[in-house]
């Protein structure tokens, strides 16, 4: 998030696209509703009729994968009505003219053809967002999990820059992170092309600094993303995989494909709290302690680094992940010895001076600090890009709409989209063993519109056979108008009805390598 969570309440307009916020980020949804109570306008764009839409001034259900067209259409209207921030654009951005030429080719009628959104609604969205500053744009995986994920994100940035909403209080482009420390995992260099603090592995100065600090020459060529690792496993190039605290067998696209890839490994080591679907096929499993059993820090969606504290002793023989990694490293001949997470934090902070350099356990306290926090007196940064963008001038990207990899056809006539529901979390390893959560929804389901159900002769709880080009599964139906006719929705939490049997591993964004979980096409048969 460029801006903080509390600032959502200060926005003049809140635009939520591709985020089922009340289910997936309830305490951020609270801020949206409070913002609305304080007078903000609320726009919701989502292919499903989500709960938040009930609170909205304008809510649209655009066709799956049509986000670029929708946003381009809004921007054309904003420019035509002269609502854009001309001074901001001149001072702080570049490549505006070319961008204008592209959005000019998205008149409301064309946008309606692609998105299904009426020109009147599109006009209203554009007006509310552009004329109620500051506008806060919020999105989640509904924007990113597409073959056009990067295009979608850039289009969101274009819209915010067009209205001068980046670098101001209460505005911003705010991706809502789905995991407690996904921000931290990225910050810490849990990516194939960057070291901690987003410092490129190929930069000689950076590489040298880390190699010196760690006492080993580290490789300077970017490695494989998870999306590239799977074919490398199938080709026999990747022989060993060490998986820490993840369940990719359920979260990766295309279950069958991934299952074969794992079977091909000479060594699979899984470190987890539970014997997850992935751990079950491992050669060795290391039992890890939970977050309540160790000290450390998490960094949330708004870049706030906060301490967690050990409340109880690790269960059984389990150990905190940091201790396991230290022991394992020693066992393969590279000594890593630390007394405490605090000592690790100090080493990390010294190597990421721009982001974490000014943070210490003492300074974090209960509230934590938001990066960038470059020195010991720095109060942390509530919102980014205040005086300028990291790259200098903000670049307008000229982006054309591209359809998703799969669209319904005669053989597979329905759209399938996937996501989370309120009581469960991701692959369900944590929530399905939690009695008060599991009771809310103990098994998988597919949401289908009553009109489609009627046409298929399907009643509530009837078991349907859902098939795609990848595979098929049986799952009970739930009749609901939260999905449009022609679209079905399945939650991703349930190992016995894994949606990734159906989703497409070959369709991913060419740059971000994010799979297109949000769009595939399926056929439905009543059993």
């Amino acid at each position: 998030m460029t801006n903080s969570i509390s600032e959502i309440e200060e926005a003049g307009c809140i635009f939520v696209i591709g985020s089922n916020t009340t289910a997936c980020h309830p305490l951020i949804a609270r801020r949206i509703i409070r913002g609305k109570e304080k007078g903000a306008k609320l726009i919701v764009a989502d292919p499903r009729n989500i709960h938040l839409a009930r609170f909205a001034d304008v809510a649209v259900r655009h066709r799956l994968g049509s986000d670029v067209a929708l946003l381009n259409g809004m921007m054309r209207i904003i420019i035509h009505n002269d609502w854009h921030a001309k001074h901001y654009i001149m001072e702080r951005t570049e490549e505006f003219e070319e961008f204008c030429r592209v959005v000019e080719t998205y008149p409301p009628e064309k946008v309606e053809n692609i998105t299904g959104v009426h020109p009147r609604d599109l006009e209203r969205m554009a007006e509310l967002y552009a004329t109620n500053p500051p506008g806060s744009l919020l999105y989640a995986m509904g924007i990113t999990q597409h073959t056009t994920g990067v295009d979608n994100v850039k289009s969101c940035c274009n819209l915010a820059m067009l209205c001068g909403y980046v670098g101001i209080r209460g505005g911003g482009v705010n991706p809502l992170r789905g995991q407690n420390n996904v921000q931290g995992a990225c910050d810490m260099g849990g990516l194939p092309n960057v070291l901690p603090g987003y410092q490129p592995v190929g930069d000689p100065e950076v590489n040298n600094r880390f190699s010196t600090a760690w006492g080993r020459k580290i490789p300077d060529r970017p490695g494989l993303t998870i999306t590239d690792m799977v074919p490398a496993m199938l080709d026999g190039k990747l022989k060993a995989l060490y998986v820490i605290g993840e369940n990719p067998k359920l979260s990766d696209p295309d279950w069958n494909h991934f299952h074969h890839a794992l079977k091909n490994l000479d060594l699979l080591i899984v470190q987890d709290l539970f014997l997850s679907e992935t751990a079950q096929v491992a050669h060795v499993v290391f039992p890890a302690a939970s977050a309540a059993e160790k000290d450390g820090t998490f960094t949330n969606s708004e870049r706030r680094c906060m301490r967690i504290n050990k409340a109880i002793e690790p269960l059984g023989d389990s150990l905190p992940d940091w201790e396991i990694i230290c022991r394992f490293s020693k066992a393969i001949g590279y000594d890593m010895t630390y007394d405490s997470p605090e000592e690790i934090f100090r080493e990390m902070a010294a190597l990421t001076p721009k982001l974490y350099g000014g943070m210490t356990y003492g300074r974090l306290g209960i509230e934590g600090l938001m990066w960038p926090c470059p020195d010991n007196d720095h109060p942390g940064t509530q919102y980014l890009h205040k005086d300028g963008f990291a790259r200098g001038k903000g670049k307008f990207h000229s982006i054309h709409y591209r359809p998703p990899a799969e669209s319904p056809d005669d053989e597979f006539p329905y759209f399938l989209t996937t996501g989370r529901m309120f009581a469960h979390f991701h692959t369900g390893t944590m929530t399905r063993i939690s009695p008060h959560l599991d009771v809310q929804q103990p098994k998988g389901y597919v949401d289908i519109n009553p009109k489609d159900a009627e046409a298929l002769g399907v009643k509530e709880s009837d078991v349907l056979l859902i098939s795609s080009r990848r595979g098929e599964m049986e799952v009970p139906a739930r009749l609901t108008t939260s999905v449009e006719p022609g679209v079905v929705f399945m939650p991703i939490h349930f190992g016995e009805s894994p949606t990734n049997i159906l989703t497409n591993a070959d369709a991913f964004d060419p740059l971000a390598k994010i799979p297109e979980f949000k769009v595939s096409s399926v056929k439905i048969k009543k059993l």
Binding site: R177, G215, I226, T299, D321
Partner: protein
Amino acid sequence: MNGKIVPSVCSYCGTGCGVLFQVVNGKLVGTMPLKTHPVNEGKLCIKGWHLHEYVNSPTRLRSPLIKMNGRFRQATWDKALHFASDRLKAIIEKYGPDSVGVLVSAKITNEENYLAQKFARAAIGTNNVDHCARL
């Protein structure tokens, strides 16, 4: 009875709500919202209120496991680490460091992620490091 309250952060979504763990006689018995926290201001969602339940689950792994003849056997840490490191070293020697991948985690701490990628880059010698940010 011996009780304490320990401030922490929820481990579900990326919002980062402040929680208080309630501990009685060394057991985690409940989760409460942290009233003064800047993110959640004393509120939690249904998952947050039941955060302690996954921690206490009887399905938690309590010892290392090694698979032999298709079945998991419990093992000591020494045995499990020995087994894994012997095989890993052999693979690195035979196929090179880039034949290994490490998936770090959006659920473990910053310190642990830092160590996990350091393990991949310095101990193994590969940049094949990623996690589930995309998934």
